[in-house]
């Protein structure tokens, strides 16, 4: 598996290939904790937030919300304690960048969280890691112990009046806990159901206190923003999305891996065919899901020979989005009906059950997919899927419903032949009527 930067100097991946890169010693020998020192040496919290705003850093978890603005929403005069929570619940299918950041460079996350905590006035902070990543929790705990022993964590950090603690916390297997309010409920010891917004976590988050929830990749960008200045960081990317972005590349490419690209990397086709060394076995590209399973699928015809820019605006213009950067490449052997069925089963399993459109809707979607898969597909089943999706999208309590809808909408639109093939030979379904309880439409 490849790990490294293409088209720019490695920034977030600067240390990942060094020996013993997870140790405090290596981190400090390579520029680590310099940003924290600079912050504590004379930057005010507002200065820090100002730099992050200038950097045009957008949340790397999937939604792409401007990080500086999110930090700015935290009320300064609140008498309540404030919290920074790191979202390390990485569970979007196709995404594995945070895993390598934490495995190879845990101190970068510690430093990013310390700076965020300083900017927001937070004393106790949590890293919410998905339960399956237990070995990363162990790595983070070791890094936190090292930092504490070196006076970088706890009371009077680096001899200043800044006091701050960071704790690891384990999830236990629930995709929905990557949604920030579900994560907060889970961290409070409840089922991972999303909360109504507003109030947003910045005002009433963990234990009802002002809270900022940021993805690992977002927080690990902060030390570099402080060191090089917000403006210089922004210039690495585009005007609206600064810096570099990690792409988790998987599927039918010769060289899967974690790729760091500047925001606005010019050419998706080149990225697949050259940087990722092309499609395995010399087969042809069929489709790409560029931003984790929850974004629109892109057919090869929208990529090959087209100039698709890899940033928020470029991918929206090309009919998809950056999402979490989980870049899944599929060759001509993949049946998009089957890949979409697979993802729909995922969303059914991961629907938290809180709201009806998502809980019932994803279940009905899987039922229709299974009927079509079993040879009982009816001529209007694709339309039936779209009708069900129409009753989920925008009508669910949290974005999981949308995430379940978009792959289906785009798959049916872009690959109708893969769905048409599932209509039974007699054109009428072979299950002999309505015994599965589905409407006969």
């Amino acid at each position: 598996m490849f790990i490294g930067a293409i088209g720019c100097e490695p920034l977030q991946l600067r240390r990942v290939l060094l020996d013993d890169s997870a140790s405090l010693e290596v981190y400090r020998a390579n520029g680590g904790y310099e940003a924290l020192k600079r912050v504590l040496d004379g930057m005010s919290p507002d200065d820090v937030i100002g730099e992050v705003k200038k950097s045009a850093l957008r949340g790397r978890g999937g939604a792409g919300f401007p990080t500086g603005m999110k930090w700015g929403f935290v009320p300064k005069d609140s008498p309540k304690p404030k919290y920074v929570v790191c979202n390390a619940d990485e569970s979007e299918p196709g995404t594995f960048k945070d895993r390598y950041l934490m495995e190879r460079d845990p101190h970068m996350l510690v430093e990013g969280m310390l700076i965020a905590a300083y900017a927001l006035g937070a004393r106790a902070n949590y890293i919410y890691t998905r339960g399956e990543y237990r070995y990363l929790i162990e790595i983070m705990d070791r890094a936190l112990d090292e930092a504490r022993a070196a006076g970088l964590l706890g009371e009077k950090i680096l001899g200043t009046d800044f006091n701050c603690e960071i704790y690891t916390h384990s999830g236990a297997g629930a995709y929905i806990c990557g949604e920030e309010t579900a994560l907060l409920n889970s961290l409070e010891g409840l089922r991972g159901h999303p909360r109504m917004k507003p109030p947003f976590p910045a005002v009433a988050g963990l234990y009802g206190c002002p809270t900022v929830v940021n993805n690992v990749e977002t927080l690990t960008a902060v030390p570099d923003i402080i060191k090089m200045g917000g403006e210089a960081y922004q210039k690495l990317g585009t005007e609206k999305s600064g810096g570099t972005k990690l792409w988790s590349v998987s599927g039918h490419v010769n060289r899967p891996g974690v790729y760091e690209l500047p925001m606005g990397y010019a050419h998706m086709e080149k990225f697949i065919m050259e940087d990722c060394q092309g499609i395995a076995g010399g087969r042809r590209l069929k489709a790409v899901i560029p931003g984790g399973s929850s974004v629109y699928i892109m057919p090869a015809s929208d990529i090959v020979g087209k100039d698709v820019r890899m940033d928020y605006e470029g991918l929206v213009a090309a009919g998809s989005s950056v999402g979490s950067g989980g870049f899944i490449v599929m060759d001509e052997t993949v049946d998009v009906f089957e890949s979409t069925k697979n993802l729909t089963e995922f969303y059914k399993h991961e629907s938290c059950g809180w709201c009806t459109p998502c809980r019932e809707g994803t279940d009905w979607l899987v039922k229709v997919f299974e009927r079509m898969d079993a040879g009982g597909g009816r001529p209007d089943d694709a339309q039936l899927l779209l009708d069900i999706v129409d009753n989920i999208e925008g009508k669910s309590f949290c974005p999981l419903g949308d995430a379940a809808s978009w792959p289906i909408q785009s798959a049916i639109k872009k690959f109708p032949e893969d769905f048409r093939r599932r209509v039974a030979a007699n054109g009428n379904g072979t299950d002999g009527g309505n015994k599965d309880g589905l409407p006969t439409a």
Partner: protein, 186 residues
């Protein structure tokens, strides 16, 4: 013995809570205290504590373990069940000593997750969702574990096994049978 209360066999209305409560060693109690010290609210430690109780009680949250958690966290038995039944990594039924969890989501799927599951089934004689009669193996198909760049993969306990092939699966199962491989529970 007391009646086993599980999600499929819930506590009847008005029934008394089982009094038997799990007892743990001073080391485990100290580990639990370290987790509780992280949070201003005890209940926040529910998931970390569940993993500990599960580890100590033979791989699952048995009723004495649940009673212990409710007591330790100052919540009701139903609060513990409410949370336990939500999260896929909390076992509310017994599982085998080696819990083979094969990722079945898209990236693994298109790179041969089915072959991994089939090989496990062939070697162990169990389908996903089942446990061998000797209680040594359980097999599950699970959703994306963040190992897409090294697909296909499976997790045993907390340990990752990546870039799997049929031979590698055979070797892993052999090493589990000989007891050479850790079951990854910690």
């Amino acid at each position: 013995m007391f009646q086993q209360f599980t999600p499929n066999n819930p506590l009847p209305q008005g029934a008394k809570v089982p009094v038997e409560m799990a007892v743990f060693s001073p080391e485990v109690e100290a580990e639990i205290d370290r987790h509780l010290a992280k949070y201003p609210v005890k209940r926040s430690a529910i998931l970390p504590l569940m993993f500990i109780v599960q580890r100590e009680r033979g791989g699952w949250l048995d009723p004495p373990g649940v009673a212990y958690l409710a007591d330790r966290l100052g919540v009701r038995i139903t609060d513990i069940w409410e949370v336990a039944t939500f999260y896929s990594m909390i076992n509310t039924e017994p599982v085998g000593r080696y819990h083979l969890q094969v990722c079945k989501t898209l990236s693994c799927k298109i790179l041969g997750a089915n072959r991994v599951t089939e090989q496990c089934t062939k070697r162990l004689g169990i389908k996903p969702g089942e446990t061998t009669e000797d209680g040594l193996f359980s097999l599950s198909e699970v959703e994306c574990l963040g190992s897409c760049g090294t697909a296909p993969m499976m997790q045993i306990g907390f340990d990752y096994y990546e870039n799997l092939t049929g031979e590698k699966v055979d070797e892993i199962i052999d090493r589990c049978k000989s007891g050479e491989l850790s079951n990854g529970v910690r």
